[in-house]
């Protein structure tokens, strides 16, 4: 598939998309000179604040979730690439309103290296930061080897929950504990049906057969799971929800968050059809869906496929999930 994108100079992708984001959300965010995306209300915040980092090209994630009640500053790298630690350190300093900063890092090689270097530097400078890592991809490693698991869409509900806890006036340690509890109880599985093209190079990121899907595909098209023939929405949904339930050892009577996250060109129609099946399957098993979302949240360009995400919920997590927030792509 040849690339067919509405872009200009591939070197300016990140700069231009961030400008578009800032211009279309002037009441919520601002873009600093060195491309930090900052919650406009950060200046008056008297609470723990949230910083995150990650490559662009996954819009609306991550910068589309900066605003009151979610992320205070996002540090975008270039397309699919982590930013440098300096920018992260700068963001943490800027974010700190005297109550400390929660620093959320997705488990991807570059992000983790940047995150670690940043933390070392932050410690050296005596900053009050706690790092939480999201690593919930059940496809590429067992739960015992969680540090090998990739971070997928789960970071976004985590921003929401941690952000609400911060707004509720919790201390940094409390916010970090809540975020970690949520992180420890989440699981994602991705399925891909068609690869994307890299917007800077025009190359296909991964190639699947005309009638194939791959369950367990990573964020940038790296394989992981197995390839199978295309199946019906209901079959795929059941396969995926079963793997997720098993990973978290979810039992009848438990309460879950269920998210279907479209990868790019898989329609909302399809995402809703899949959600419906997963929901009904859970209902039959006596598992209650208490929180949900169906949308493109963390995409991979025009890839076809979706991520199915679940998280074990308790009343406190649910309260924070439901709390108001206002960001460009998530409002409550």
């Amino acid at each position: 598939m040849k690339m067919k994108k509405f872009i200009n100079d591939p070197n300016n992708l990140t700069q231009e998309l961030l400008e578009g984001l800032a211009l279309s959300n002037q009441d919520i965010i601002e873009l600093t000179e060195n491309n930090l995306v900052v919650n406009k209300k950060l200046k008056v915040a008297e609470r723990v604040t949230l910083v995150t980092l990650g490559g662009t090209g996954h819009e609306p994630a991550l910068s589309g979730f900066v605003g009151e009640g979610m992320v205070d500053i996002s540090v975008p790298g270039d397309i699919f690439a982590a930013p440098g630690p300096q920018k992260c350190l700068e963001a943490i300093k800027m974010a700190d309103r005297g109550k400390g900063v929660l620093f959320v890092v997705l488990n991807h090689a570059g992000d983790m290296l940047t995150g670690n270097i940043t933390m070392k530097a932050a410690e050296k400078e005596g900053l009050n930061v706690i790092k939480v890592v999201t690593q919930e991809d059940v496809a590429n490693a067992p739960r015992e080897k969680a540090h090998d698991r990739r971070g997928l869409v789960g970071c976004v509900p985590l921003y929401k929950i941690a952000g609400a806890a911060a707004q509720a006036g919790k201390s940094l340690q409390e916010v970090a504990d809540i975020a970690q509890r949520f992180a420890d109880n989440m699981a994602t599985l991705a399925v891909a049906a068609r690869g994307a093209t890299h917007p800077a190079t025009g190359d296909m990121i991964s190639v699947l057969g005309e009638d194939e899907i791959e369950i367990g595909m990573g964020q940038h098209g790296e394989g992981g799971g197995g390839r199978t023939k295309m199946k019906s929405a209901d079959e795929v949904a059941v396969l995926m929800i079963e793997a997720l339930l098993q990973d978290l050892n979810i039992k009848s009577g438990e309460k879950l968050m269920l998210i279907i996250n479209g990868s790019g060109s898989t329609t909302l129609m399809e995402q809703l059809i899949v959600f419906r099946k997963a929901y009904k399957y859970l209902e039959e098993k006596g598992i209650e869906v208490v929180a949900s979302a169906v949308n493109e949240i963390l995409t991979v360009q025009e890839a076809a496929g979706f991520q199915m995400f679940i998280a074990r919920m308790d009343d406190e997590l649910l309260k924070y999930w439901q709390a108001p927030c206002r960001t460009p792509y998530f409002v409550r």
Binding site: A81, G84, Q86, K87, K120, D148
Partner: protein, 209 residues
């Protein structure tokens, strides 16, 4: 043998020239087990080093130079290579105070401290199929060498090259290639190859002095 600022400059430039020259090849081998951008990132890093060398003020020490450079390299947008290379440079800087001349002892210490910084930032060790497979033997060779700096770098380049070659037999345990599991065997690790090329370039540079 003692290295002064001007010599450092030409050695660094030589290391960078090799990387820039081989950038396309590096992306190609990254495409086999990674995401095909290692050459792009390495080229950016090499260009960052080159331009820092060009702008190296007379009144700034090697420590200053390396510290600033480390920051710039870490900020290079791209792959995992930037924070790793940046950490190595930052580690080197920590071996220094305000020395302007580098003798054998300090030279050894420079690389040893660079490697130490890497150990802190990544759990990857020999056999994990990363740039460490080239870097560790190179630095160990320098550390244990009894000859002059020129000889050290020659031996280090050879050791790095051998280390990089061996990565073809390993299964990746860190970086993107890890997800391929057994499928990663049979391909050299791009990060190890570029690291070996850098040492080759350094060694060529010192030969030309």
């Amino acid at each position: 043998m003692i290295l002064h600022k001007e010599e450092w400059k030409s050695i660094f430039n030589s290391g960078c020239a090799v990387l820039i020259d081989q950038a396309e090849m590096l992306s190609k081998i990254d495409a086999e087990i990674g995401d095909g951008d290692h050459g792009v990132t390495i080229k950016r890093i090499a260009e960052t080093i080159k331009s820092a060398v060009d702008k190296w003020h007379d009144d700034s020490t090697l420590k200053n130079f390396l510290e600033n450079l480390a920051g710039q390299v870490m900020g290079v947008a791209g792959g995992s290579a930037s924070p790793l290379w940046g950490s190595f440079l930052e580690g080197m800087a920590q071996a220094l105070e305000d020395q302007q001349e580098i003798d054998e002892e300090l030279f050894k210490n420079l690389f040893a401290k660079g490697l130490e910084a890497m150990y802190e930032i990544t759990p990857a060790r020999l056999g994990d199929k990363t740039m460490m497979d080239a870097l560790i033997p190179a630095v160990e060779t320098i550390k244990t060498s009894e000859i002059d700096i020129k000889g050290m770098l020659q031996a280090a380049a050879k050791a790095a090259q051998e280390g990089a070659d061996k990565t073809a037999h390993y299964q990746a345990r860190y970086g993107r290639a890890k997800n391929l599991k057994e499928r990663s065997i049979g391909h050299k690790d791009p990060g190890a190859v570029s690291m070996a090329l850098f040492f080759t370039g350094l060694s060529q540079g010192i030969n030309k002095l």
